[in-house]
């Protein structure tokens, strides 16, 4: 295992920092089903880390473990050099981990703007009384955060739908709004669960661009699950491969692509 403070240089010349998130020997069971079996892997500062694997391999479950929604029966989660005690999901979120969901989990009854503002909850501190009277801090805070959110709206080019209720948006835009909501938290680690599922090439290209820009401009570490191998191979720095709850491969895209286990279990044919 590489040392925490090691950094390395990627294929295209970017420098990746030390270990940010370290999963050690994670095992997760649901009743009799072992969804994750003793998996260890790490995510490093500034990298784009992909998790791939067949359906039901336990990828989403792994993200859920990272975001504190599932609590593994065995194993440890280390975040930024500290062992993480059992935490509620919202506490994890406050540590700077944001995510999107496999089946879009937007707040359907709210406008796009409100959805994204919700993402900034972890930055809002004003008390209830101040809010009730809409005085001083509450109002100031609202405006400040609104500015931050507007920056993200501009970045993701969704200005036009700001006030639209999300329930009226088409799928692709919903995915983008979900990304915006996650970005609004200004996360250190961004978890994306199949951000490009159900998109056509054009939209995938857009999405890839956003992910790369986020990674580049804000230095956000990204972990993503994706089934489109083209995307995964192109944009990720390192890839973990899971199958039936086990880790069957871990490495750079080119390493993984040529790993026979991975080909057998997942890719089917060697990918170009």
């Amino acid at each position: 295992m590489k040392d925490t403070f090691d950094s390395y240089v990627t294929d295209d010349g970017r420098t990746i920092g030390g270990v940010m998130m370290d999963m050690r020997g994670i095992t997760l069971r649901f009743g009799g089903v072992e969804a994750i079996k003793d998996i260890s892997f790490d995510i490093r500062e500034g990298e784009i880390r992909a998790i791939i694997g067949p359906n039901g391999a336990g990828k989403s479950s792994m993200l859920n473990v990272i975001s504190g929604f599932y609590h593994p029966q065995e194993g440890e989660v280390w975040f930024r050099g500290e062992k993480r005690p059992p935490m509620k999901p919202y506490q994890v979120a406050r540590q700077g981990i944001a995510r999107t969901f496999q089946n879009i989990a937007l707040f359907e009854g709210m406008s796009v703007l409100d959805n994204i503002m919700t993402g900034r909850l972890t930055h809002m501190k004003s008390g209830m009384l101040a809010q009730a009277l809409w005085m001083g801090k509450a109002e100031r805070e609202e405006t400040e955060n609104r500015e931050a959110v507007e920056r993200i709206i501009d970045f993701l080019e969704i200005q036009a739908i700001r006030k639209t209720p999300v329930s009226r948006l088409p799928y692709g835009l919903k995915k983008r709004v979900e990304l915006a909501r996650a970005l609004a938290a200004e996360p250190k680690l961004l978890l994306l669960d199949e951000p490009m599922a159900g998109m056509n090439v054009e939209e995938k290209e857009d999405m890839s661009r956003y992910i790369l820009d986020v990674n580049d401009e804000f230095g956000t570490t990204v972990a993503l699950i994706e089934h489109d191998m083209g995307v995964v191979m192109d944009i990720s720095d390192r890839v973990v491969v899971m199958d039936y709850g086990r880790k069957i491969g871990d490495g750079t895209p080119s390493e993984v692509r040529n790993n026979q286990d991975v080909i057998d279990a997942y890719l089917g044919v060697a990918h170009d």
Binding site: F30, P54, N55, P170, M199, N200, K204, E205, A265, Y266
Partner: protein, 275 residues
């Protein structure tokens, strides 16, 4: 992989210039026409929100329950106007839809899910169990999990379950909405392989809505491309695959071959058809 000449000329399903409005205000389809020939696989392609799902639901009459309605145009199946039938009638006539996002019955077991597919059948339990056997043969994974609640099975298994369930009605035409969504590449191949098998061996016709243009055009015989509620292009699949616009916008290929997703940052596209 296949050539376009093998499509027969008999038209099963004909959609003629339909217009669909949701909630009495949102105009989604603005005159869509298409034909599904007997024994063919017809692909309906297009970006998000293009109206693929809406088209399929208009055909299978599932729109009503979503407060949508067909306000213009006609839908004919084997020459009969079917717009005013119930979904049940349509299933009995052999048209069944596999919905986007799987929609399995979460609390029913896989086997019970499959059995619900046979709800409209009147040909006795013998025939039904024979078909159940057939489905299990196409999808051996389902046989393994037949006693588990569908809510706990993985995405791929649910997709198989949904298709298997549709097969149980002994359909003539299956309207298949985004079967590849969220599936691992190997599974996508597997499922499309099965679709092809069903098409060839059982003679089931497919109308296939897909985002994944690449795969869809590989397996389909004929394709329609939908954009903002209008058909902007149609033709035999092989031709579509060679069309430069389709190549660029739907297959992500440029003249030099496939672009890397890393490079997309450098240029902004524009929509040529709409401009």
């Amino acid at each position: 992989m296949l050539d376009t000449t093998e499509t027969t000329t008999e038209t099963l399903l004909e959609v003629n210039n339909i217009e669909v409005i949701y909630n009495h205000v949102i105009l989604v389809l603005k005159g869509v026409s298409l034909k599904v020939p007997k024994g063919g696989i017809t692909a309906l392609l297009g970006g998000n929100g293009a109206g693929k799902t809406t088209t399929l639901k208009a055909i299978s009459n599932l729109l009503q329950s979503e407060r949508g309605e067909v306000t213009k145009g006609s839908i004919r199946y084997r020459g009969d106007r079917v717009q005013d039938l119930t979904p049940t009638d349509l299933v009995q006539r052999g048209v069944i839809q596999v919905m986007e996002g799987r929609h399995c019955f979460e609390h029913l077991t896989i086997e019970e899910n499959l059995m619900t597919g046979a709800y409209t059948r009147r040909d006795g339990s013998g025939a039904v169990s024979a078909d159940l056997e057939m489905v299990y043969n196409y999808f051996p994974r389902l046989r393994e999990r037949r006693k588990s609640q569908a809510g706990y099975t993985s995405g791929g298994e649910q997709q198989m379950c949904a298709i298997g369930r549709a097969l149980m009605s002994r359909p003539e035409t299956i309207l298949l909405d985004e079967p590849s969504m969220g599936l691992a590449p190997q599974l996508v191949e597997e499922i499309f392989g099965i679709v092809k098998d069903l098409n060839e061996r059982e003679g089931v016709s497919f109308l296939l809505a897909e985002q994944n243009t690449n795969v869809a055009l590989r397996f389909a015989h004929h394709g329609y491309i939908l954009e903002s509620g209008r058909v902007v292009m149609e033709g035999p699949a092989a031709e579509l695959r060679e069309n430069p616009d389709v190549k660029e916008f739907y297959l992500g290929m440029s003249d030099e071959g496939r672009k890397s997703f890393r490079d997309v940052r450098s240029y902004r596209r524009r929509k040529r058809w709409l401009a």
